[in-house]
Amino acid sequence: MLIASALSALLALALLGVLAGGEMWRHRVVYFCCGLASLVLLAGGLKHLGTTPGTGPEVVLPIGLPWMQAHFRLDNLSALFMVVVNLSTAAASFYGIGYCSHLPEPRRVTPFFPLFLFGMNAVLIADDAFMFLVSWEFMSLASWLLVLADHKKPENRSAAMIYLMMATFGTFCLLTCFGLLAGAEGGYSFPAMRKATLDSTAGFLVVALALLGAGSKAGLVPLHAWLPLAHPAAPSHVSALMSGVMTKVALYGLIRILFDLHGQVPWGWGPAIMVIGGVTAVLGVLYAVLQDDLKTLLAYSTVENIGVVMIGLGLAIAFKGSGENMLAALALVAGLYHIVNHSIFKTLLFLSAGAVITATGHRDLGRLGGLLKRMPWTGAATLVGAAAIAALPPLNGFVSEWLIFQSLFKGPSLPHWAMKFGVPVVGAMLALAAALAAACFVRAFGIAFLGRPRSREAAEAHQLPYSMRLPMAALAALCIVLGAMPVTVTDALSGVVFPLTGVHFAVSSDLGWPWLSPVSSTRGSYSGTVLVMVGLGLFAVTILLVHGFGTTRVRRADAWDCGHPEDIPESQYTGQSFAQPLRRVFCSSLFGARETVRMPEPGDMAPASLKVRLIDPIWVYLYLGIGRVVDFIADRVNRMQFLTVRRYLLMMFATLVFMLLVVAVRQQK
């Protein structure tokens, strides 16, 4: 079987990576082969998605738990995510061919990169809890080592530490969750779990634990703290995968549990998950809009997009729980569509961030600028990505948000007051998140690629090899295609949601191709295809009109700037100043944003300064709080290390007497 061979090839590549040593060409070969393997897996996923509906054959390997062995199976959901994953991994691998030579220690990246790929793919096809968790941890450990690739930087080490802790926490949550699903007899295979019936408490716990487990990997607020630390710490092509793909694998786990293994999730979880999603989206984008570090900004925007997807999933659960399977299918398709889109443009944006860092050596917005002229390819691709992630038509990001809005607008049709009042609020959150995302990426692109260079390196940025540019171009093209022909995508997705919701979701109900009218044509419809054609038409007409009526003469001159131009680039708006209005409006109460201005006296030569202080309440009160508690107890417990033998004997004696008392009491009964 093709997929199996590709997976084993990845394992072999890991060995090769170990042997690669200092020879750069060997690293390049490894990355190239990784790319090929991902393409094979991609093809496998597409084939299954296109041709065979339902589940593929089951593969059993004589490993894993001795009495049940390891089960693998490819069904539509896994196939879809396999496509999602390997699209990005292929791009990242080919990108790596050119990128690996710019890494400080490529030997610490090349061996684990294939392992990471392997882990993610294995999670998707695992068909029993044990293999699922093994692959899941495989993924986590490989990515942990990749985060540690540049281990000489202390901040990277602490990021890796936090990441590892959160990952393990998530694994334990999933482990207990599967324990509940499997029951005391230990039916760890997924088919057995589907058959199992849970009582209400267990059912509740399963959902909660799944949310904690998968959510900590996907970066749901408040479990997101590790994400903006760890994703940027890794090499950019790995950050791209962690942010663009690994979070999706986490969502896969969530969907697998909530829609497949767990028979009936009560509708009440729907609103809860929606609110979690809404909060995650808004907080994520608010963090993002304040960041100056390009990669941290992208990582936070990942948090936002995960929130958006969660809104879709929550809606789907609410609909499914109250029997509205048609709408459940709609919401689920919307969520999955957004998953696909986000994996594409987030990978693209991280790759371009990597390109920027390679070209300039800076990731701080304050030292970039004017790169569009130096790196036209990267700039153009990034512009597409930014527009897509800002949910602008006719790109793919807009289609999924549109679908999510459409299903949101159907939310109040449910007979639950929680939905009637919750949905508008969540809708407002989603809208706010979308608008802020636009602001965030106008800022990011505008500061980094437009204007005048803010540092010498930015001014001397150089163009990058094709191996790094082509993957970005391909992803950008995908953003456009997926936006321009949404119906094709939604038709493919409806095949995926059929087993989960039981209905075939006819996405273009009565208007037919290319009109996207999820519920009915009078319900509201959208057609990216038509918009693109008409838009281009009007664009052309505009040009014709303007050039027909007017001149085409252009004169290059200095900027006018209201009459008093400053030629020093520092006079431009910086990221901080751009964010200032948003910071004042949204963050002063939320993050306790405080600005302190220091204006020197006349005659004082010291520069004026503006200091901005932000505190992240979640980090301060939740995470540091836990840390303090552990320290406190550890100090107390640690005293037991410094007793004398007599006291140790006393402890022994006390234990003995206590147990004897227990026995005595028990015997009296």
Partner: protein
Amino acid sequence: MAISQISYELAHLIGATVLMAGFQLLYQRRLFAVLNTFAFQAVALAAAAAWQAHIQDAPHLYVTAVIALVFKAMIVPFALHWLVEKLGIQRSVETAMSIGWTMMAGVGLVALSILLVLPVTANAAALTRESLALAMSVVLLGLLMMITRRNAVSQVVGFMALENGLILAAVSAKGMPLVVEISIAFSVLVAMTLFGIFFFRIRERFDTLDLHDLETWRGDRQ
């Protein structure tokens, strides 16, 4: 069964003597007195072993008796005397808990062990409740002594008293094999303890080898 009845009475009597000796150990305030009391306990133990050997007609228990008599009642006390002389150990017993409280705790322990053996259905064949209660009390008292005494020597004595209780239980368990080997093994332990005290130059403290600076070091305080 009159004979056996009497024989058991006598066995209990001797056992009780051992327990009494255990109590005396608790309230001795002078080191040499502790040693003498211990020697007395050992003699009583030897007697118990011998009597059991007689009534169970198990000759190998005589060996145990002899070991108890020679090793515990004579060699060990003398060795400890010598150590105290040689190392110039202070002669008074240093307690971590006032004698009175210690005694009360001791009584409590005896009560506990009686409480524990009460439900044991008496099956005269192996061992009567009484001897079991006696043995367990002696063991617990020995442990109590170890944790309420600060002097090395008196703690060693406590350890040996505990062991006396074990041997008492072992010998009075009818037909229990390997008692001899076990008592020999124990004698080795005790011998090592004494050796250790001598070798490590433990004067006062049992637990710091007089190396108080270790306290600051121990357990890698950072």
